[in-house]
Symmetry: C3
Amino acid sequence: MAPSPVEKSCEYKLAELEYLTDDIPSLEEVTNQLSAMRSDLPLMEYVTAVPRPSFAAAKEIINLTRQIIFPGFFEPQQPSSELNVKFSIGQTLTRLFAALTREICAALRHDHVRYDSLCSNCYQQGRQTAMEIVSLLPRLRLIMASDVVATKEGDPAAGNHLDQIILCYPGLFATLVYRLAHELWVRKVPFVPRILTEYAHSRTGIDIHPGATIGKSFFIDHGTGVVIGETTVIGDSVRIYQGVTLGALSLPRDAGESLRGRKRHPTLEDEVIVYSGATILGGETVIGTRSVIGGNVWLTESIPPDTKVFIKKPELVMIHAQVKN
Amino acid sequence: MAPSPVEKSCEYKLAELEYLTDDIPSLEEVTNQLSAMRSDLPLMEYVTAVPRPSFAAAKEIINLTRQIIFPGFFEPQQPSSELNVKFSIGQTLTRLFAALTREICAALRHDHVRYDSLCSNCYQQGRQTAMEIVSLLPRLRLIMASDVVATKEGDPAAGNHLDQIILCYPGLFATLVYRLAHELWVRKVPFVPRILTEYAHSRTGIDIHPGATIGKSFFIDHGTGVVIGETTVIGDSVRIYQGVTLGALSLPRDAGESLRGRKRHPTLEDEVIVYSGATILGGETVIGTRSVIGGNVWLTESIPPDTKVFIKKPELVMIHAQVKN
Amino acid sequence: MAPSPVEKSCEYKLAELEYLTDDIPSLEEVTNQLSAMRSDLPLMEYVTAVPRPSFAAAKEIINLTRQIIFPGFFEPQQPSSELNVKFSIGQTLTRLFAALTREICAALRHDHVRYDSLCSNCYQQGRQTAMEIVSLLPRLRLIMASDVVATKEGDPAAGNHLDQIILCYPGLFATLVYRLAHELWVRKVPFVPRILTEYAHSRTGIDIHPGATIGKSFFIDHGTGVVIGETTVIGDSVRIYQGVTLGALSLPRDAGESLRGRKRHPTLEDEVIVYSGATILGGETVIGTRSVIGGNVWLTESIPPDTKVFIKKPELVMIHAQVKN
């Protein structure tokens, strides 16, 4: 496309935009307004020398964990042989421990600075919790191995290649992040668990609350739109497809206050399969062992073991259209 | 895993790939083909010295806005005390003003260069619009405060911690981006509003068209799959769950031409709640004040105020499976 | 917010965290445990000097392809005039060829090292396949032009601006990535096709398997939650909305083994439209030319040409609530 009249006719002054001198007064005015209103909204800011938890740190923690769980698959410089793989794991582990300590400590401090102002000895506590998490990694590795195998068994498109599952299946990524976040959650670390799972949610469209309990050999296929609520309990060898909601029954307007802490989300026993778009709601709803919930099923009641539940074949309206000529 | 025969037996020539001399002839041929076909597809390219709007700039604008609206939560270097918070806001505001000016100006130029070639005095116009947007930030801050509080009131999992909502709730992020984009939209800035909301869509799975109108105290929970169309009107204190579509009725094949500019999407009055997976369609569909639309409901007609609408308990087919032995 | 008692009363030792000397013994212990268990999980690691395929490389390949297909829209430094656009395309093409060769070669080596240890002459094969892909770009450009036009025709919100579609429509992005990945898929390149489409899935919520076959003039609107399975066949001028699943019928527990390689997903003939949330399942399900599948329809059987299929207007339960006083 040839340069148009506009390009030729008028000077292009973008470069000058760096020098904004004549607008500075009104920018100052807006700054003053924003500063003046700060005292009305103290809880919407966090002005302190104490660092706060962040997505950047969460992302680093997830990446380092993934490198340790699956050696050779995700390091910027992958270990090249038996000779250096242990050093690679050890070094990554050290960095993970430092990042976890910093982040847990920041979260504890953030919490205490804002809510009670009592010294919680957060430095010792952060260090302690980070060490606990790090020492769980061998177990996390085993349980992730069960998830990888469950994925291979459940997905005809996976082929025989565990590597493809490890490299790029979003369900496996979301499950790894959930399992890590859950360990922080049960240790009552504030903020960090949710930041971790929201990072995975952003990348995968899979929203697993860190408070949920999920057994081994878990497989989520496709995954976009999956929601697994805070008090959900899921057994071993469960398989879930895209768009499945494991949620709460309809909530009163003040739900935030009145239902906090109650079991609001369902229980899925071992070997349950839930197909795409199904919705299972309520804290007392239990899906029995080996039951299969069909696509788009809407359930608010318990289902006994070994039961297949499908929607009744829906009545459809079909209109044969005029042939266009 | 020990080095395999392959690793040992064949030379690994990846390093040589930098020197591609013998393929360059055919690369040149492909380049020539691509260049030759350019005249057939002029609208699929934008070859000009005038910069175009970009996702990178949109991301910067969103990040800077977020830093100003929630001081201390998102800056790379958070303000450490009362002494420097105002400087931090002022400096971020200056950068935001510069980025907005550059981007609005680029969008106006892009538009004019391609479509009418009339000089629109884009530099002055960009500067002016950027200043208007910047001076709206105090108001944006107040309305975002209403969204934060609405989130806390609506979500039992939020706890009492507004910080967690601010730090990591995707619905709040998408709402902030929408509110900023909408101000650019009503000022008829091309491209930028949609680039902003598509960035948020990519991060959250929540697709809010910048043309929609949304009142204060808005809360989207989970959010993946939410679609809010261009001409949707939403009142105050509305709550929406994952997978909700506020969309258009089925469109003719030439919808792009015939329906442009018409109100095609529904209206939700104050205090409406729409549960997950519900679909509400049509420009004349109005959901009355305080009405509640249950999960998976499919609506193409108006609902009076104070009405709860649920799907009829669906008939399910249950088969008790043979016990495996 | 003034510095709180906590900030004043206790030393903040985060800086010390860099020196972790006293924890190093137990980090070493965990490292030893992780190393010891490696022999039990050999398939969960990839320790070798041979590079493996990666998301970072996939992202680069996608970005470079996009820059070539739509000149001026996505380059970091856009071409400024007719004088340099050809050089810009040529240079980007060279980089794309190098990146593709590296990545295909890495994928072939990865595959051979792990699964058969026979030398596949991967370097020559990678180079050859990369050159084939690169020489398909002019054709890819034409087919993408058909997708851009189909988007404009199908979306009332698109306006007349093809640029906005090119710059920010997620459906177009996912379609481009799918079309590139599919060419690698039919050439039997392992890993890379799926890594490419999973990158797009992560950014857009649209999950198109690289094995699917999709005709020209394809348009996905909104897109979040769309799943298009491995053996799906889609004709020309098809339009699909958010949340549509083109999937397999319910799968036995050992689906991963028993159904591999069979046609498990539906066929959509030319000019079919599928509205949001519809689910079409099964390898023998064929939707005839020009048929329209309404929102939320659940289909496991074929539909003749020129047919409109809608859900029967669902029975809803409406309760007029007590007026609050």
